[in-house]
Subunit: 118 residues, 2 copies
C-alpha cells in the first residue's frame, strides 16, 4: 500500500506555486517545516481544516511533490520533500518559508504542544 508521488524530475514549478498559493496548504507546509524530520500524521493538522478537507489538501500537496506520505498501519506519515524540492528548485522552499514567517497577514505556526507522558 503505497500512495502515488511524482518523481523529483516530474515536479512542476507552476503546480508547486499554485499549490503553495492556497493559505491552508501554505500553513500546512509551514508547520511541516517547523517540525522538520518529525513525521506527522493527518490528525496533527486538524487545526487547519476538517478531516475531509485535510485529506483533499494533503493529496494536493502530495501530488504536487511537496510532501511525501508513507502508509504506516492506519496512519499516513507526512513529511516535507525538502531534499527533492531543494534539488529541483534550489532556494525556493527556503524563501517561501522565510517569507511566510515574515508575513504579518499569516498566522504564526501553531504550537501543537505535545503532551509528554508523565
Amino acid at each position: 500500500m503505497t500512495l502515488p508521488h511524482p518523481n523529483t524530475d516530474q515536479i512542476s514549478l507552476p503546480i508547486v506555486l499554485a499549490v503553495l498559493g492556497d493559505p491552508t496548504r501554505l500553513a500546512i507546509v509551514r508547520y511541516l517545516a517547523s517540525k522538520e524530520g518529525v513525521p506527522l500524521n493527518c490528525s496533527q493538522f486538524l487545526d487547519f481544516g476538517s478531516k475531509t478537507n485535510l485529506s483533499y489538501h494533503l493529496a494536493k500537496l502530495r501530488e504536487a511533490g511537496v510532501t511525501r506520505a508513507e502508509v504506516v498501519g492506519t496512519n499516513r506519515m507526512i513529511t516535507l520533500r525538502r531534499t527533492d524540492l531543494d534539488a529541483r528548485f534550489p532556494g525556493l522552499l527556503d524563501s517561501v518559508i522565510a517569507a511566510a514567517g515574515d508575513d504579518p497577514g499569516l498566522p504564526a505556526v501553531g504550537g501543537h504542544d505535545i503532551e509528554l507522558p508523565a
Copy 2:
C-alpha cells in the same frame, strides 16, 4: 491616470504564489525578468495570449504587486517590481525565475527580437 498598485508591505505571499502559479503569468514574469530594466507595453506579450486575456493576467500581476504598470500615453509600460519583491520576500523571485529556467516542461523565454532601425 495612475493604476492601483499595492504598497510593498501590502504584498501577500499566498496571493503572489497563486498568481505565479498560472503558466501564462509565469511566462510573462520570466519574460519581464529577461528584459529587466526595459519597460514593455502590453502588445509585447501577445505571444502569451489574446489582448483581452493579457489585460486580465496583467491586471492580476499588478494587483498582486508583482508588476508595475505606468500609463504613458495610450500605453501601459510594464515592469517587474523586483526591488519591492526582493525587499518583501528575499530570494523568492530569484529562485522562481531560476527554477522556471530549469524546468524543461516550460517553454524557453521567447526571442521577441527587436527590429532596430537601420
